[in-house]
Amino acid sequence: MDTGGTAGRSRPAAERRQGRWGSAVAVRLYLYALVDPPTRRTLGPVGVGAPPAVVRVRPAGALGVVLSEVEGASVALEARDVLAHQEVLGRLLRTRTVLPFRFATLAADWPAVAALVDRIAPNCAGLVERLRGRVEVGLKVLWSRRAVRQEALQALGLHPAAGGAEVSVPRAEAIRAGQAVERIVQGWRDRYVPQILAALRPIAEDDREGGVLGATMLYNASFLVARDREPDFRAAVRALDDRWGDRLEFRYAADLPPYSFVDLRYGGEEEPQ
C-alpha cells in the first residue's frame, strides 16, 4: 500500500509557515481518527483549538486520516477541546467506521502521518472489519437515593423526620447509618448487575466494564452492538428501566466512538490489536 504516495499531491499546507515576523512557525497536525472508507471530505471549523480548526479527512491508502492543523510546536489543549474532539468523531460515525486516536495525538507533518498509517494499516484492517456496521453504546446505572434511604430506614428501624429538617444524632449512629447504606448498595450491585448483563449480553457482541465515578453509580459499561440491533438493545434497556425504575436509574448513550474497543496508539510497542 502506498500511503506515502498521496503526500506530494495537494499537500494541505506548508508544514512550516511564515510567521508574523518572518520567522518559520511550525504547523503540526492534530489526529482524530483513522476512518474507512477513506473518502476525502472537509468537515469545516469544528476541531480543537481556538478558534476551532478546520477538520478534514485525507486519504492515506485504504484508510482516511481525520486531522486538523495546529500552529506551534505543540498544542495547548483545553477541557473544551475534549468536546470538540468528541463532536468530530460523532459526525464521522454516522457514515464511516472510525478508529479513534488517543486524545492529543499530534504529528510533525503529513509524511510522518503517511508513514505511520502505512506501518499500522495491516493491523487496522482486522479492527475495521471487527467494527464495521457496529456501534459502541454506554450504559450507566445509578441507584435512587430515595429507594436506598427507604431500605436503610427499615434496616435501622428508624423513621424519617418530617420536613427534612436537620437533626442532631450521635456520631456513632451516623456511622452505623452510613455502613448500612454501603451494605445495601453492595447488595444491590451483587443482585442487579448479573441480571442486567444477562438481559443485554445476548444482544451485544462484546462488552467492557468501566469504573464507577461518583458515589451513586452502581454500574458502568460499554457494549459493542451491531448497528441494526441497536434498537433492540435500547428496548432491552428500556425494559430494565420499566422493571426497576423505582430504584435504579438507567443512563443510556448510543453512537459513541469505539474507544472501549480500540486503543490506537502510535508508539512502536503500542500498536492496535
Binding site: L142, E166, S168, A174
Partner: protein
Amino acid sequence: MIEVGIDPVDLLLWPLALPVHGFTFILEQVRAAADRELYDPETLRRQLLELQMLYESGEVPEDAYRAAWAELGGRLAAAAAANVIGAEEED
C-alpha cells in the same frame, strides 16, 4: 458526645452521598489513579466526559462541576504537548 447536624436524608447516605456535594470526591478518585495517568490526555479526556455526564444528569452541582472541570482542564493543558509523531530532536 460528638453530634453532627445534618439533613436526615444525607445522614442516611453518609458517608457515600455527602462527598458528591463537593468536588473533592471526584478529585480523590482521579488522584487514586496511577501517577503516570494523572497527566495522561486520554485518561483526562475520559474523566472530563464522565464529569460532563454526571453534571448533565444532576449528580454533580454546578459549582463542583466547574471546579473539577477547571482542575482537569488545567492538568490537560500541562500534559498536552507530550508526544508528536515524527518530531525531530530540535522540537
